[in-house]
Symmetry: C2
Subunit: 124 residues, 2 copies
């Protein structure tokens, strides 16, 4: 796939990969750097009770919650997010996700700039 | 709002602005260049039967369909898109949107790189 190529595909047709640092968490690269020249669009799905431990990334996150709900801590701030919430996480700020218990997974779009991203877990 | 500031807010709290080149179309800047250093996240809503005429942008679009359905032409390709479809429109490629008739609006997330974007309507 190259950067001049149009594409339309359904999210459910995209390979989901387990996020090893997380619990019950998968990610899908919906539009990756081989196609989009500047940023990548991914979807994350966290099963009820799943999530990611406190960590930092070297890149910022622009997110849109599609479904479900979760406790999200970003730096010192704790938020309870749900469908339709828009979340901005600056580069380098520690953050964690804990999907709510229940029957519905927590799903969100997460856009990051292309280029190297180092993930570091944070002791807390 | 600056680039080091975390934010969480619901999409429905964000000002919607009419897109003058379109019909029955509004846009909301969910995360703009004053906050995200590299790219902007917007939501578009097109009322049933609304849309945008054939045009080009100088920047690429990475899109995720949230609700509703539409006929989308990108270059020579015609697609019928619906919830969960992921759409990549390369910079400079003419495209148009026609939201389906019915009771449900066509809603999608559209991410673009920061920087100048010139929109040009295309005769067809």
């Amino acid at each position: 796939m190259n950067q001049n190529r149009v594409s339309v595909r359904h999210v459910d047709s995209v390979l989901a990969v387990e996020v090893k640092a997380g619990t019950g968490t998968t990610t899908q690269v919906l539009i990756g750097p081989e196609q989009g020249p500047n940023f990548a669009m991914r979807r994350f799905i966290m099963e009820p009770g799943g999530g990611m431990p406190m960590h930092t990334n070297t890149v910022e996150h622009e997110q849109y919650v599609l479904r479900g709900s979760a406790r999200v801590q970003i730096g010192e701030e704790v938020h309870h997010v749900k469908e339709g919430d828009v979340v901005y996480i600056p580069a380098g700020v520690p953050h964690t996700y804990e999907a709510d218990q229940g029957s519905e997974p927590f799903e969100f779009i997460c856009v990051v700039p292309n280029g190297p991203d180092t993930i570091e877990l944070v002791d807390c």
